[in-house]
């Protein structure tokens, strides 16, 4: 099949971007979206033009590197599917495909379709850790976790941090991501010591990055390639309200007692 791509091209963070029309010829319907871009890039390289920069890594839908906005929807038209797992059979011959980077102040464009998502790393660094015992290794089943907590924490941990939630939100809010990260540790016994300081620190980091607020649109959960539930936004709200009363300072003072 033959396609017409309208691709956002931008030299670097400071440059002015524009849409470029690129024809993709002889695309196999069995290709993934990224393989299609690989083929287009090979053609651009051979023609002496600069290839389209885009993020990718595992191509199995589990690393969170890839992600572009395809015809107005982050990760494209298939629900619960990352860009790398989206296959060209979901497009029609002759279709025009508009490809844009994830847009948010907190995700500045690095080049073309690549954006800098280190804002997420800083949110993780603010609270994505637990206190780990040292000394002798723990026994396998010394810490009991209920099936419900384990399953719910696993659901939250399915978040791959791709940023599609931010890209989809009309407010560019990161609440689904932060909700998933706060809940994933907050639901498990290992995450309890920092539960309240964690939510406080991660929300503060989120706000400092310039993400918007949650207006309960739920576009985030609709595009999430891992189907992370918006329930975790509710949990984030509840935990932050709890933290007003229960959070302790991060570093204990040296006073006795």
């Amino acid at each position: 099949m033959n396609l017409v791509l309208m691709v956002w091209r931008q030299e670097n963070a400071r440059a002015q971007g524009h849409m470029q029309r690129i024809e993709a010829k002889d695309v196999s319907p069995d290709m993934s979206f990224l393989e299609m871009l690989d083929v287009v890039n090979e053609g651009l390289t051979e023609a002496g033009q600069s290839p389209i920069a885009f993020d990718h890594d595992c191509r199995e839908g589990i690393c969170g590197s890839c992600g572009v906005v395809i015809n107005g929807v982050p990760h494209g038209p298939q629900p619960g599917t990352t860009t790398c797992q989206l296959h060209m059979r979901h497009f029609r011959d002759g279709q025009v495909i508009v490809i844009e980077p994830f847009r948010a102040r907190a995700f500045p464009v690095i080049r073309d379709l690549m954006v800098d998502r280190s804002a997420f790393d800083r949110v993780i660094a603010a609270g994505g850790f637990i206190t780990s015992p040292t000394g002798s290794a723990p026994d396998g089943n010394a810490m009991l976790v209920s099936k419900h907590a384990a399953d719910t924490a696993m659901e939250a941990a399915a978040c791959i941090g791709c940023g599609a939630c931010v890209a989809a939100c009309p407010n560019a809010s990161a609440m689904l991501f932060v909700g998933a990260k706060v809940s994933h540790l907050g639901l498990l016994p290992q995450g309890q010591p920092e539960r309240w300081s964690r939510v406080h620190a991660m929300v503060a980091a989120m706000d400092a990055e310039g993400f918007g607020g949650c207006t309960n649109f739920l576009e985030c959960a609709a595009v999430c390639p891992k189907n992370v539930s918006s329930d975790f936004i509710g949990r984030l709200n509840r935990d932050l309200i709890g933290a007003v009363f229960l959070a302790r300072p991060r570093v204990a003072s040296n006073d006795a007692g």
């Binding site: 847009r103 948010a104 809010s173 310039g210 918007g212 607020g213 949650c214 309960n216 539930s229 933290a243």
Partner: protein, 221 residues
């Protein structure tokens, strides 16, 4: 604890304030429907209701202060959040498709300011008695003032338009306020959405009946 001030500085805290103030404004809307419906029963009913509300000056000013505070908080934080959200995506999309969000949700930031404008007009018309509509204003005779106003076609249409906008605002607001407080779970989602729909219909239809009845000359014809 890390205190209330930092909490209300956070985006989530601001949304909590929006939700709580929105809840009080919502509760007032419910109460207001009662008054508006009494108009349909005639002058004695609604004027008596008005006298009841004014029974205690302290009480009415207590409620007015609460309402005014809620409105100020709601508008102030809506403005703050609007600018935060506006700044959160400096470069927009060329092509955008929405999958899940409702029209009502996406237009909150537009329906809100219009409603604020209408509330000021409505107060000027029926509470302060400024001559914003043709015809005289009679202190204490709520029935006559409403009837007079709604007899002018454009006034009735402004009221009908405003209650439609209010309905749009509530269709999202009446469940969003619970969700912003953390009451969000797949088990209660349909309950909250159902509540919002019922509340929207009750409030907007309830408030629309009086101006509509006059506009179509069912009352005072």
């Amino acid at each position: 604890m890390f205190g209330l001030i930092p909490f209300f500085r956070s985006t989530i805290g601001k949304k909590v304030l929006m939700a709580v103030s929105g809840f009080f404004l919502f509760a007032f809307c419910v109460e207001h429907v009662t008054g508006a419906l009494l108009f349909l029963r005639g002058p004695d009913a609604i004027n008596g209701y008005g006298r009841l509300l004014h029974y205690s000056a302290a009480l009415i000013w207590f409620f007015r202060a609460g309402l005014l505070t809620s409105a100020v908080v709601h508008v102030t934080f809506a403005t703050l959040l609007y600018f935060q959200e506006f700044g959160a995506r400096p470069v927009g999309y060329q092509n955008r498709r929405y999958l899940r969000s409702s029209y009502a949700a996406r237009t909150m930031k537009y329906s809100g300011p219009f409603l604020l404008g209408f509330v000021i007009f409505h107060l000027a018309h029926l509470t302060w008695g400024y001559n914003v509509v043709p015809g005289p204003f009679i202190e204490g005779d709520i029935y006559a003032n409403m009837l007079n106003g709604f007899r002018t076609g454009w006034v009735a249409l402004v009221y009908l338009g405003a209650v439609s906008l209010l309905g749009l605002h509530l269709l999202h607001g009446a469940h969003s306020m619970f969700e912003s407080l953390g009451l969000r779970h797949r088990r209660i989602e349909s309950l909250l959405f159902g509540f919002a729909r019922v509340a929207t219909v009750v409030i907007s239809v309830g408030l629309a009946l009086a101006p509509a009845a006059v506009f179509f000359r069912i009352i005072g014809g």
